[in-house]
């Protein structure tokens, strides 16, 4: 969406402003370069004992084990730009891991257990939108209903 809006903005501006065109071209050239720099080659594995294993998939080795902070984590999802991992915790929260520092940078509290009613604990309970502006998480409220929450990332 960001690229799309940018291209529309640039093409309209370029008709009227030469200077804007130059700026926009620069911005469009820089976008793929910055995306390239953010490629994340790791795999993230939440261990039930409360840690997150970080595997370098090029060498098949564990390069970090992030300790503590996770409460029986059971699912993990990497953001589209590779900068964040959302980790589901059994304490009804999502722990946000910064992949540059391999530390927990935030915790998002939810009002219920993560997972669809009847499907709590299943892996796929958190998902990002294609470009990562939003994340979706479903919780079960302890009754017969589930709620879908949208997180502004």
């Amino acid at each position: 969406m960001r690229k799309f809006l940018q291209s529309v903005f640039c093409s309209r501006r370029s008709v009227a402003f030469t200077l804007s065109t130059g700026l926009c071209l620069a911005a469009m050239v820089m976008t793929p370069l910055s995306a390239l720099a953010k490629a994340n080659n790791n795999a993230y594995v939440p261990n039930n004992n409360g840690t997150l294993s970080v595997i370098d998939t090029r060498t098949n080795t564990v390069i970090a084990t992030i300790p503590g902070g996770f409460n029986h984590p059971f699912c993990a999802t990497v953001s589209p730009n590779g900068k964040l991992v959302y980790v589901c915790s059994e304490d009804n929260s999502i722990k946000v891991v910064d992949t540059e520092t391999n530390t927990i940078s935030a915790s998002i509290a939810l009002p219920g257990a993560i997972g669809f009613i009847g499907n709590e604990g299943a892996g796929p309970s958190v998902a990002f939108s294609r470009h990562g502006e939003r994340a979706f998480v479903v919780t079960s409220g302890g009754g017969v209903s589930s709620t879908l929450y949208t997180i502004n990332t």
Binding site: I55, F74, P80, G82, R130
Partner: protein, 214 residues
């Protein structure tokens, strides 16, 4: 859970037949449209969506209640199941992983017999035929993820036994064999890699039609 490319539709897997909610729920992200259900009555555990959003793959664990376990292939235009790839009866189909080029779907399952058999089935998405079946080292595969631009698929081989570490088995997708094993810790249920197409080294054009307008 899976999100359509435009974020309009959220696909939720559910396996709660006692609530009358089993199947795949299609939920409008903005809450404007009513929820519809695909494959009502099937117990669905995991979902994978093709990159352009036209095909949804669902791991069906209906074998647990006397049905047939397998992978359902859903046409998202009509929200209907177009075909089923059956796997072992009474098996728990856990992880699904699409290769970044969308040509192969990897599906992990384990049987409920003891000792259980755990396999990864490779499905050719062109005709939904089974290309290969890979026998896993352990008994309980819980999750899959594609890595290294689709050259590898990682399979979580989870051990629910204190004092025994679990492993992540590395499948070489060119040979469809397990060629490495990485030790992790206790009873992992998930594995995550950066989604295909969002990396700088992948072709992302199909998602930016607007970029070609000028």
């Amino acid at each position: 859970m899976a999100v359509s490319p435009n974020s309009d539709n959220i696909y939720l897997a559910t396996e709660a037949p006692e609530l009358g909610q089993s199947g795949i729920l299609v939920v409008d992200a903005d809450g404007d449209k009513p929820t519809t259900t695909i494959a009502l009555g099937h117990l669905i555990f995991d979902l994978a969506l093709s990159r352009n959003g036209d095909r949804l793959y669902a791991s069906d664990v209906s074998g647990l209640i006397g049905g047939q376990s397998g992978v359902l292939v859903v046409d998202t235009d009509t929200n209907s199941v177009v075909t089923t790839v059956p796997l072992s009866n009474r098996s728990f189909v856990t992880g699904l992983a699409l290769t970044p080029d969308g040509r192969h779907l990897y599906a992990a399952d384990f049987t409920l017999t003891r000792p259980s058999n755990s396999t990864v089935t490779v499905i050719d998405t062109k005709d939904n035929s089974v290309d290969a079946t890979i026998v896993a080292n352990g008994q309980t595969l819980t999750a899959l993820a594609a890595a290294s631009r689709g050259h590898k698929v990682l399979a979580v081989n989870s051990v629910l036994s204190l004092g025994h570490d679990s492993t992540v088995d590395v499948i070489d997708t060119r040979t469809n064999t397990i060629d490495d094993s990485i030790t992790v810790q206790f009873f992992p249920l998930s594995i995550a890699t950066q989604p295909a197409g969002s990396r700088g080294d992948d072709d992302d054009r199909d998602n930016h039609e607007g970029d070609h307008d000028h």
